[in-house]
Amino acid sequence: MKSNETMTKLPANPERATLDGKNKFLGFWFFLGGETVLFASLFGVYLGLRNATNGGVSANELFELPLVFIATMLLLTSSLTSVFATMALKTNHFKRMIGWFVVTGLLGLAFLGLEIYEFNHYVHEYGHTIKSSAWGSAFYTLVGTHGAHVFVGISWITILIIRNLRRGMDLYTAPKFYLFALYWHFIDVVWIFIFTVVYLMGKVG
């Protein structure tokens, strides 16, 4: 009955009810601002090098949109489920929140699996590697950095869920879950730009 007990105790917006929570909330937004510059730099590098194929395979020959479409749908859906989790957090439904975060993590894992398959496919079927051309370097660095962020996110939510499964929701843990949700949305937004700039422009641009 722990979750019922906390339901009555926690204020609205428990993630920002303490000074510590407010600090984390603001600090994390700033961190995401820095991450935006980080990815913007990588996108700039990619745009500068996207035609530097060094005589090898080109984007148009390489990419298969159905695969990328499935990956995109997985990640967009995971963003939706993390919104459901955040809504549960705000209304203090701890178990529901954990459930939606588990779904979010599993969708992220599926996305990561597809990305590993995709990279493996490119390397072994097309000889498209980080060394084969400047475009290859830019492609794997940009998409790989995003993939690494997904991996970090999955590890993060796994640890949070395991650590807090039994203790329930309180003002100390609420900011932690909320920040993960923010991070996850950010990853999702970056992917939308990757989908557009890397894959769509690679096919038609």
């Binding site: 603001l26 600090g27 820095g34 980080l38 530097a52 060094n54 980080i130 660095t141």
Partner: protein, 612 residues
């Protein structure tokens, strides 16, 4: 748990695990001072090599390493931590806060910086230091043999992460932790400039992170970003570097501007002239600082349109900077100006920096820049702004805030000797370099030929460097003497204007026993004029919450250090082991609850209870 607060701690363990921003400030100042002396030594060796034409002192190869390490050390390992040291020691006091927003992150920032700084300098002992210039331009850096540049890339990467999270900490601290009544437009100028600098750090450093990461990939993993033969483009590195590098100049100089604003007002015994204009000028410089990076690349050949746009943006920066110069002059106008060492450095800064600003406007004109580019004229320019601006600011801040940080006053006679020797030495070194540059002497070259009218100016420059070295020795002697038998400082030795002077010197670990109520700009000065002996308290005396200290920041940084060192030698098993240490420290931080502890109000010393 008050027993915890007063338990006798092992001092070494205490310094390794501290999350107290004042102690972290002292750690930053100490390590920054060490690297400053190191970078200064490198500069003197450079100047000895250039003492006579075709002189053979250290030789070309060592000269390249000294030159690279002098620039890198002074910018990243001396100026940055010294600024962070003052920000840590002073900003929370100035806004009436008990602590920073993220004490743990703050400590992590320091240890990451230290790990990176040590890694960067290990090259000296492990087969050669970095030698591709402090800018590390590709393809020179990607093809440089040996491991020197790897130390540069990974050392800067680690210390850069530390700087970035330190910046986030100060942004949040200044927004969320201000005392009641401390509105944005009542914040002291040093706090304002620290705030804007932290914003610049947040948006500039990620570009460096990417630039360095791509260099690392090219060097360690065989990627082709900057390899023209595989379609790569080395210009991309220049862009990334300067998108970071130009804001970095303002990251360094804006806090120094803030220090001058405090010091000049205090010793003129007048309110700062044009406070709001100063705030907006600082913000405008910070904003424009992101739109001028191409002026470092005029000769790359980006075309007349790009060059013109960036030239105009560069010239624009002279406007808010000029506003500041005039405001400092008008602050002194009609004031009761006194000249202790802190104010000597502050006033000496004005003409020195103006000279650097003038040459900056000269350099912003692209056709003229084609002549000045890569010559000693540029060396003269940036030393006038960085030494004349940043270093003078750090010295002024040191003499001004030493009493608040350490509780003693630096010797004024030695201080004035330090100022005059340094001031004369500085101009003797760098003023002749303008003419060396105009006569065509290229920078970064280890020697020159005789009979080209370059001998006298080079000789004078080296003599000036010796004078600056002598001044620095006097400063070190002053610091040692003051630490051993220094005069005890009162709470408010300069009749200061801002909140840090309202509390004990050095400040107690909880800063303010009761959070003060701020009733206007120059909060402490106002209370003193109203006849009050202390700030009015904004809350009743109560238990004070303190954060837990932690060894994890050191462990986390050590893990990254091990990983980077192993990666340089392509020993991937140890590298992964280092990353596992780092990851484990992060996970521990997440799963352990840090609730802090309380200092009970009964345990506060009587003099700490203000405003009763």
């Amino acid at each position: 748990m008050s027993a915890h607060a007063y338990k006798k701690k092992n001092p070494v363990w205490d310094w390794l695990t501290t999350v107290d921003h004042k102690k972290i400030g002292i750690l930053y100042l100490a390590s920054g001072a060490f690297f400053f002396l190191l970078g200064g030594l490198e500069a003197i060796l450079l100047r000895v090599q250039l003492l006579y034409p075709e002189f053979d002192f250290v030789g070309a190869e060592t000269f390249n390493q000294l030159l690279t390490m002098h620039g890198t050390t002074m910018i990243f390992l001396a100026a940055m931590p010294l600024i962070f040291g003052f920000m840590n020691a002073i900003v929370p006091l100035q806004i009436g806060a008990r602590d920073v927003a993220f004490p743990f992150v703050n400590s992590l920032g320091f240890w990451l910086f230290t790990a990176g700084g040590i890694l960067l300098n290990l090259g000296w002992f492990l087969g050669g230091a970095p030698d591709a210039g402090w800018t590390g331009y590709a393809p020179l850096s990607t093809t440089s043999p040996g491991n020197g540049v790897d130390f540069y890339v990974l050392g800067l990467q680690i210390s850069g992460i530390g700087t970035l999270i330190g910046g986030i900490n100060f942004l949040v601290t200044i927004i969320n932790m201000r005392a009641p009544g401390m509105t944005f437009m009542r914040m002291p100028l040093f706090t304002w400039s620290s705030f804007i600098t932290s914003g610049l750090i947040l948006f500039a450093f990620p570009a460096l992170t990417i630039g360095l990461a791509l260099l690392m990939f090219d060097r360690l993993f065989g990627s082709q970003f900057f390899a023209a033969e595989a379609g790569g483009n080395p210009i991309i590195y220049e862009h990334l570097f300067w998108i970071f590098g130009h804001p970095e100049v303002y990251i360094l100089v804006l806090p120094a501007f803030g220090m001058f604003s405090e010091i000049i007002a205090t010793f003129a015994r007048k309110r700062l002239f044009g406070y709001s204009a100063m705030v907006f000028a600082t913000a405008l410089i910070g904003f424009l600082g992101f739109m001028v990076w191409v002026h470092h690349m005029f000769t790359v050949g980006l075309g007349p349109i790009a060059n013109s746009i960036f030239a105009v943006a560069t010239m624009l920066i002279a406007v808010p900077t000029g506003v500041k110069i005039f405001n400092w002059l008008f602050t002194m106008w009609g004031g009761k100006v006194s000249f202790p060492t802190a104010n000597l450095f502050a006033v000496g800064f004005i003409p020195s920096f103006v000279l650097g600003g003038m040459t900056g406007v000269m350099l912003s004109v692209p056709p003229a820049d084609y002549q000045y580019h890569d010559s000693y004229f540029v060396v003269a320019h940036f030393h006038y702004v960085i030494v004349g601006g940043v270093v003078f600011g750090l010295f002024a801040g040191m003499y001004y805030w030493w009493p608040k940080i350490f509780g003693t006053v630096l010797n004024e006679f030695l201080g004035k000797l330090h100022f005059w020797l340094f001031f004369i030495g500085f101009h003797l070194t760098f003023f002749p370099m303008h003419f060396l540059g105009l006569m065509g002497m290229p920078r970064r070259v280890y020697t020159y030929l005789s009979g080209q009218s370059l001998d006298e100016a080079n000789f004078a420059a080296t003599m000036g460097a010796f004078l600056m070295g002598l001044a620095t020795i006097i400063m070190v002697w002053n610091i040692i003497q003051t630490s051993v038998k220094g005069k005890k400082a009162g709470n408010d030795p300069w009749d200061g204007r801002t909140l840090e002077w309202a509390i004990a010197s050095p400040a107690p670990e909880y800063n303010f026993a009761q959070t003060p109520l701020v009733r206007g700009l120059d909060a402490w000065w106002l209370e003193k004029r109203a006849g009050n002996k202390a700030m009015v308290a904004a809350e009743p005396l109560d238990d004070i919450h303190m954060p837990d200290s932690s060894i994890l920041p050191l462990v986390l940084s050590l893990g990254l250090f091990i990983a980077a060192l192993a990666a340089i030698y392509s020993n991937w098993i140890i590298a992964i082991g280092g990353l596992v240490i780092t990851a484990a420290a992060m996970i521990l931080r997440s799963v352990i609850d840090y609730h802090g502890y309380h200092i009970h109000k009964e345990d506060l010393p009587a003099e700490g209870r203000e405003g009763k």
